[in-house]
Structures are given as structure tokens and as C-alpha cells.
């Protein structure tokens, strides 16, 4: 089974994000970056599927020269080789999906795994657009029935199930109020949600081994993709600072405030 998996470089979500004073972007100086956490889940799933069914995991990233670090982390987790599509300008989901479509045409994977969204711009579109451009079946928000504390998770069993014959895959996905089980013919696009697995760490010996793994550099122009964004960012603004709460002396005052200040009860 050949699996293509995406890895996007994003800001470390545990850091405070500061907006530039002119609103043109966020301050990247001194910022830590890491792979998109949902992509890490996609990589983990790809590795489990490969280790169960044999095959190859190819990790792909799109962005500036620094993105190689995140690609290298996917290789250190266990991906077999990497593709870096070098692009220094702004990205939108459509451009990303069109580049990925070209990569899929070249690599002809049986399965494309992506994070359900990147935690930087939260677009949640690239996987869906990719499936549309390639006319492939898609399952978004892939999850599983077993909990992340289950024995299946401890044994690192894949959450996606390759159906007998190996021509289709079963995906449990998160929907409002429950889980839905889909079967998709391969190749297919699956976007991964939080409860699909707990991604492994890149161990130090594997970081050393990843140095020797192949990373191919491509360009959008070489792939014939025009990266001029259809969606442009006008302005960034930080959310309004939360105001501190007040303590009320008794229930009567609380009801009074809810009624007349907050106006949430009448």
C-alpha cells in the first residue's frame, strides 16, 4: 500500500501568537514551528497502515526552505521518503490542493492522508478540494470507535481498515452526535481528526536515520501550478483581551446582574 501524507509547517500552538502592529501578519521572530498536529496524526496513521499491510509512506510538504525540518520530522517518525514543493509566497487551500493533485498524479498512491485542517489558518478545505480535483472518494474527520486509552491504540493498530481484497478502505468518521462508518474505493482521500491515534515521537536514533532519507525538491511552476492565491488575507487582528470576572456577594445580586447587565434572563 503506497500512502501519500501531508505535513504542513505551523506555529507551535502552545506559544502565544502576537499580531504585527500593522496587522499584516503574525510575528514569526522567535516563534517555534512544528508539524501541524493533525498532520502528525495522519503520518502516524500512514505508518500503522504501512506496518500492517507493507508498502511505502511518502511525506509531502509545501512552503519555504524551512519546511524541510517538518518533513524531516515525518521521516524521523518513520516515513520512507519526502517531497518538498518549494514555494516562498502566500498559500491558499486551492493552491495547496492543486499542487497535491499533481503530486498524486506523479506518485499514484493508493491512499492520501491529510490532517483535517492546519491549526494555523484552520481552513479545513485542502483535502476536500484535492478529492474533488482528482474525482476521488473522500472521508473527512477520520476517527475510530476505540478510545485513545484502548488496547488497540496501545498496540498501535490502524484506525482505518483495509477491506478484504485490498481495493477499498473503511473509515469511521466523526459527525455531529456520533460516528459514521464509510467504505471508500481506493485510491481515496482521508482527512484525520484528533481521536484517530496518538502520534509517536521522532526518536533520536530515527532522527539520525532520517538524515539519510531522500527528499526530492519540486516547484509549483515545475508541476505546472499557478500559485497566485484566490483567497488573500486582508488583515490580522488579535482577539479582544478577556476581561476579568467579578465576584458577587449573593444570588440575588447575580440574578440582578444577569437580568439587567448581561440581559440573558428576563
Amino acid at each position: 500500500m503506497k500512502i501519500l501524507v501531508t505535513v504542513k509547517r505551523v506555529e507551535d500552538p502552545y506559544q502565544a501568537i502576537k499580531v504585527k502592529p500593522d496587522g499584516s501578519g503574525i510575528i514569526s521572530d522567535g516563534m517555534n514551528y512544528k508539524p501541524n498536529p493533525f498532520d502528525e496524526i495522519a503520518v502516524e496513521e500512514a505508518l500503522r497502515l504501512r506496518d500492517t499491510h507493507q508498502g511505502e509512506v511518502v511525506a509531502v510538504t509545501l512552503g519555504n526552505e524551512k519546511c524541510v525540518a517538518e518533513l524531516r520530522q515525518a521521516l524521523a517518525m518513520g516515513a520512507d521518503r519526502g517531497i518538498h514543493v518549494r514555494h516562498d509566497g502566500p498559500l491558499d487551500s486551492d493552491g495547496v490542493a492543486r499542487v497535491l493533485a499533481k503530486i498524486v498524479e506523479q506518485e499514484k498512491p493508493d491512499l492520501i492522508l491529510t490532517g483535517k485542517q492546519a491549526i494555523d489558518d484552520d481552513q479545513n478545505q485542502a483535502g476536500q478540494l484535492l478529492a474533488e480535483y482528482l474525482h476521488l472518494g473522500q472521508a473527512t474527520f477520520a476517527s475510530k470507535k476505540e478510545s485513545l486509552e484502548s488496547e488497540a491504540e496501545k498496540a498501535k493498530k490502524p484506525g482505518l481498515t483495509l477491506l478484504p481484497g485490498g481495493k477499498a478502505i473503511e473509515v469511521v468518521r466523526e459527525v455531529d452526535g456520533g460516528l459514521e462508518t464509510l467504505a471508500l474505493p481506493l485510491p481515496a482521500v482521508v482527512t484525520c481528526d484528533l481521536r484517530l491515534n496518538l502520534p509517536r515521537y521522532a526518536s533520536l536514533p530515527n532522527i539520525m536515520k532520517a538524515k539519510k532519507k531522500e527528499v526530492k525538491e519540486l516547484s509549483p511552476a515545475g508541476l505546472g501550478v499557478d500559485m497566485t492565491p484566490k483567497v488573500t488575507t486582508r488583515r490580522f487582528a488579535a482577539p479582544a483581551a478577556r476581561k476579568g470576572g467579578v465576584k458577587v456577594p449573593d444570588v440575588a445580586t447575580l440574578v440582578e446582574k444577569l437580568r439587567h447587565e448581561a440581559k440573558v434572563i428576563s
Binding site: G30, K34, P205, N206, I207, K211
Partner: protein, 394 residues
């Protein structure tokens, strides 16, 4: 108007790191943040080490990460240093565990052991399946290890080991102890290293109670009474006091980096607190005295980072000696201890409770200041190098 605070890495030390050095630091940092920090308060209070994390640390390759082969990661010295920095950003006890396992137990086997000893012990120690400890210090011989009274006398085809070792990190949980003892002749030159396995008759260990510092770490006394050791228990290539001292140089190298991690943890906690905490109608961070404290701590961290980085470069070129390591250990631990005290002050009364990491680092660093060559001993090492005159006495 409040400007965005700068990050820890003002001098772009990060730019000087290779990709694998950054990845090694990130992998260790994530382990510390996700797995260790949520449990450290409980373990520090209970006086226990989180043994359930040892297999994960092994799987991550944190033990003996700078050694090559035998299941070890084979990273360069800077990457290894960054691993130590991130571990001690968690707790000095966590870094101590990895230091003892890697630098004090695996390193002597790797450097002075037979091929058979290496194959038998190193892969399992790298995975964390076997825990090691290092027995050099004795109740009456701390800074003066050459005066040790533990002996290993020839006994037929093997040795008979007698003596007591004190302040042994991981002593009661170790599967194998690297024990240094005097052999025939009795001088410092007769000191040899032995691998003593748990369960060997006459070998016992006892945990030291009442520690106020380094509580999330096991410290023990080892006692050897007529312990019979086979011939293959000896580390054949280790001869004289220089062998155990070479192990200490390895461990001290990690401490120079590790103490910087503890200082970073204290600084981060104190700065955050000073920005959030309001007194007299404005944040603590807005007062000049607080800013002076933060500036002082920050400058020391930057200096320690750059010193460590240069030490790592020299070590990778094979040019770092025990002297370089002494200077770095001495400087960085003293700076970290001072930083922890200053940061503790910024937190006021909150600085003395363990909901914040600073007091824990502060009391830990009192140990780090003293172990692996006290601050004063490193002063004498540097003093001798500067003047050509030994002030060690004797």
C-alpha cells in the same frame, strides 16, 4: 504601550543549530511537556522518580544519545547537550537519571568494557530495560575520590569487593552498578572499575531519606560485603582514577547544558507571572526592580547558551577537555542557581509553593551546585590551570 516580549533566543542560537539538533531538542521538549511536567509535582512531593516513563525515554533514545552503535542514537555533542537542557527544563532529577544512565553507567562500559560487556549491557540500557548507577563517592571521600577505601582483592579467578558508596543516584533501582575500587597496591593508580549486578550476594542498597532537594530522583547508599565478582566483572581498559574522572567529565558536560534548561524554566515562569500579577495598580513587570531582575537572569541565560554551544563545537572536534567542562559546569550552575533565587523573589509568596516550578528548580540546583565536582572544586581546577599551582592540598 506594551510591546511584544522577546523570546528566549535573542541571539539566534537556534540559527546555529543543525536540523537534527533542532529535532532532537523538539522531541525531548515535547516528551518533557506532555509526559513529565504533568506528573513532576506529584513525584517531587512523594520523593519518587516516575519509573513508568523510563521505557518511553528509552524508546525516544534519550539514554546514551551521544554513543554510537549498540542501539544508541549516535548524535553529536551539541544535540546531546540540547537533550540534557530540555530534560532539566523539566527537573534536575529527570536529567540526573539520564546523565547517570548515559554518562556514568553506559559511557564507562562503552569506553572501558569488553565487546562482550558492551553487547550484553548497552542495548538494554539504551532501551531503559536495564538501569545503571555509578559508585565512586564514599561516606568519607567525596571531593577526594583518590582516597577511597573500597577494595577489590584478587580471589581465585575473580575479585572480592568490600566497601560503601554514598550519594548514588539510581542506587536502589539499578540493575547494574559501575563500582570503583582499589586493587593491589592500594594507590590511586590501582583504582579499577567493576560491574556489579543487582542480586549479587553481599551487595545491598538503601535509599537516603530526608532529602529536601532533588526529590524526584532516587539517591542511595551502596554497601558491599565480601561480594564475589567473576573475572569478567572488571572493566579491563579502565586503569587508575582518570577512568572514573573521564565519566564525570561526560556527566558534567550534560550538567552545563542541563542547568541552563532549569534557568530557562525559572525565567519563563517568572516573566509570565510578572506580566500577569498586578500590584499597586500595575503589573509587576512594569516596575524597574522587576525588570532589573529579569534582565539579569536573561543575560545569564544567553551567556550560558553561547558557552554551551561553543563547548559542544569543541567537544565534537575532540578538543574539549575536562577544563572546558569544568568552566562551563561551574559558570552555568552558579548562574542557574542565582537565576532561580531571583525568579523565586519575583513570585513573592507564590514563589515558595510547588504549583510553580521555580522553588523546585531552586532546591534542586543546590544539589547540582554540589554534585559532579562541587563549585569549589571546579574553581580549584580552573585556578590550577590559570596559575600552574595546585591548591588541592596534599
Amino acid at each position: 504601550m506594551t510591546k511584544t516580549p522577546i523570546g528566549i533566543d535573542l541571539f539566534r542560537v537556534d540559527d546555529l543549530l543543525s536540523e537534527e539538533q533542532r529535532l532532537a531538542r523538539r522531541a525531548t521538549a515535547e516528551f518533557v511537556d506532555r509526559r513529565f511536567l504533568p506528573v513532576v509535582q506529584r513525584h517531587f512531593r512523594a520523593g519518587t522518580f516516575p519509573m513508568d516513563l523510563v521505557p518511553e525515554m528509552g524508546a525516544l533514545g534519550l539514554f546514551g544519545a551521544n554513543l554510537h552503535g549498540y542501539g544508541c542514537a549516535g548524535m553529536d555533542k551539541t544535540a546531546y547537550g540540547l537533550v540534557m537542557q530540555e530534560l532539566e527544563r523539566g527537573d534536575s532529577g529527570l536529567r540526573s537519571f539520564a546523565s547517570v544512565q548515559g554518562a556514568l553507567a553506559m559511557f564507562p562500559i562503552y569506553t572501558y568494557g569488553t565487546e562482550g560487556q558492551k553487547r550484553r549491557f548497552l542495548p538494554k540500557m539504551a532501551r531503559g530495560e536495564l538501569i545503571g548507577c555509578f559508585g565512586l563517592t564514599e561516606p568519607d571521600h567525596g571531593s577526594d575520590p583518590g582516597g577511597m577505601t573500597t577494595t577489590a582483592r584478587r580471589d581465585g579467578a575473580g575479585f572480592l569487593l568490600n566497601g560503601t558508596k554514598l550519594w548514588i543516584t539510581n542506587g536502589t533501582i539499578a540493575d547494574v552498578a559501575v563500582v570503583w575500587a582499589k586493587t593491589e597496591g592500594g594507590g590511586a593508580g590501582s583504582i579499577r572499575g567493576f560491574l556489579v549486578e543487582r542480586g549479587t550476594p553481599g551487595f545491598s542498597s538503601r535509599e537516603i531519606e530526608g532529602k529536601v532537594s532533588l526529590r524526584a530522583s532516587v539517591t542511595a547508599e551502596l554497601s558491599f560485603q565480601d561480594v564475589r565478582l567473576p573475572e569478567d566483572a572488571i572493566l579491563p581498559e579502565a586503569r587508575g582514577l582518570s577512568a572514573p574522572l573521564s565519566c564525570l567529565t561526560q556527566a558534567r558536560y550534560g550538567i552545563a547544558w542541563g542547568a541552563t534548561g532549569a534557568a530557562i524554566a525559572c525565567f519563563a515562569a517568572a516573566r509570565d507571572y510578572s506580566i500577569e500579577r498586578t500590584q499597586f495598580g500595575r503589573p509587576l513587570a512594569g516596575f524597574q526592580i522587576t525588570q532589573e531582575k529579569l534582565a539579569e537572569v536573561y543575560s545569564e541565560i544567553v551567556k550560558a547558551q553561547l558557552l554551551n554551544l561553543r563547548l559542544g563545537q569543541l567537544a565534537d572536534r575532540g578538543e574539549a577537555t575536562f577544563l572546558h567542562v569544568s568552566v562551563a559546569k561551574r559558570n552555568n550552575v552558579r548562574a542557574a542557581l542565582a537565576a532561580a533565587r531571583t525568579c523565586r523573589e519575583i513570585l513573592g509568596a507564590n514563589g515558595i509553593i510547588d504549583d510553580y516550578p521555580i522553588i523546585r528548580h531552586l532546591v534542586n540546583l543546590e544539589t547540582v551546585y554540589t554534585y559532579e565536582g562541587t563549585h569549589d572544586i571546579h574553581t580549584l581546577i580552573l585556578g590550577e590551570a590559570l596559575t600552574g599551582m595546585s591548591a588541592f592540598g596534599g
